[in-house]
């Protein structure tokens, strides 16, 4: 499939079906990292590799291990990320990780902090579930991303100032404003139910 895709000018996108089998079920001993390495070698272009703050299972270090397996040109032993072996990838084509599953504009600072630049961010529910409609959802997501990248490039501390950066942008971007208000209400309701 990878050879066909390359010949026919198409991207091979590996979806997240089955991700929990590798990340939540712990008894078979197969880690998602193996799938990442295998798929990178097979010539896949995109693979859903976890979101940290979204629906998919995984703590920041583990997910960073997956992303490094997909993107590094040379990986060193990093036990905290679950990488046990040094690996020189020898110009093997990189595989772009995709973060998809329960992420939204209000988490943009966390997403950028954990996942970095080389990632495809996919907001399904995060776009369609916008109170003002799908176009507003898309505008809110893109605005949040752009404002966060701009702030990070300027040298601001997005981890701590993130919510403030988003709130400042929400002043002139009404889709982002409704999105942030919505998120607050949702988490507030969640706390009450628990």
């Amino acid at each position: 499939m990878a050879i066909w895709a390359r010949k026919n000018d198409m991207i091979l996108h590996l979806h997240r079906a089955g991700n929990s089998t590798y990340s939540r079920q712990k008894n078979h001993g197969m880690s998602f990292r193996v799938i990442c390495k295998w798929m990178r070698m097979a010539g896949v272009d995109h693979i859903h590799a976890g979101t940290v703050v979204g629906k998919l299972e995984g703590d920041p270090m583990m997910i960073r291990g997956y992303y490094d397996t997909l993107l590094d040109t040379h990986t060193s032993v990093q036990l905290e990320k679950g990488i046990f072996f040094e690996q020189d990838w020898a110009s093997l084509n990189k595989c772009m990780p995709v973060a998809s599953g329960g992420i939204h504009a209000g988490q943009m600072h966390q997403l950028l902090h954990y996942l970095g630049d080389d990632v495809v961010l996919q907001f399904g529910g995060g776009t369609i579930g916008h109170p003002d409609g799908i176009q507003a959802g898309a505008v809110a997501n893109r605005t949040a991303l752009e404002v966060m990248i701009q702030a990070r490039n300027e040298g601001r501390d997005i981890w701590n100032e993130g919510p403030q950066i988003l709130a400042d942008a929400a002043k002139w971007c009404s889709p982002l404003k409704s999105r942030l208000g919505d998120v607050e209400r949702y988490y507030f309701q969640l706390r009450i139910h628990r």
Binding site: T73, G133, E146, E154, G155, A169
Partner: protein, 152 residues
């Protein structure tokens, strides 16, 4: 219901934000220089989304280390082409990346005449559709007209 920042071309990296000030552009340039990326300035009169090859304004500034100097070049370009689209690009030459990492649009044309639909008949009566931008022909036409007016 929705705020739309003036119906402008949304191709650049920060195109959903209000126009960046010179200070903000300098901050982005500084970030790119810190990462060792090469900066270039490009312009065009054709805002078609598939028009990726814009004209370069001078060479990419491989040896310029001062953000203010690069901003000077950007403003030079703005003065030379006041009604063209201008963007600043940063290129990362890191092995395995070797691609453009920042695309910052810093000027848009004041009149954006938009796009027209082009229909092409292929085999049988099959239609293929694409869009073409009105801007290049209209800009050239208005430039010719203004030159003729000056002659009079």
């Amino acid at each position: 219901m929705m705020t739309n920042l003036g119906n402008r071309v949304t191709q650049g990296q920060f195109s959903f934000l209000p126009n960046l000030t010179d200070a903000q552009i300098t901050a982005q340039i500084k970030y790119a220089l810190g990462k060792g990326w090469a900066l270039g300035i490009e312009y065009t009169d054709d805002p078609h989304p598939r028009n990726t090859y814009w004209e370069m304004f001078g060479n990419p500034m491989f040896d310029m280390k001062d953000p203010a100097g690069i901003l000077l070049e950007v403003n030079n370009c703005r003065k030379t082409f006041p009604n063209h689209y201008i963007r600043v690009t940063a290129f990362s030459a890191v092995r395995g990346v070797e691609s453009v990492t920042i695309v910052l649009h810093c000027q848009s044309s004041k009149n954006e005449p938009g796009f027209g639909l082009v229909r092409q008949e292929t085999d049988g009566r099959t239609m293929r559709y694409t869009i073409h931008s009105y801007a290049p022909t209209r800009l050239k036409a208005s430039a010719i007209l203004s030159k003729l007016a000056h002659l009079n």
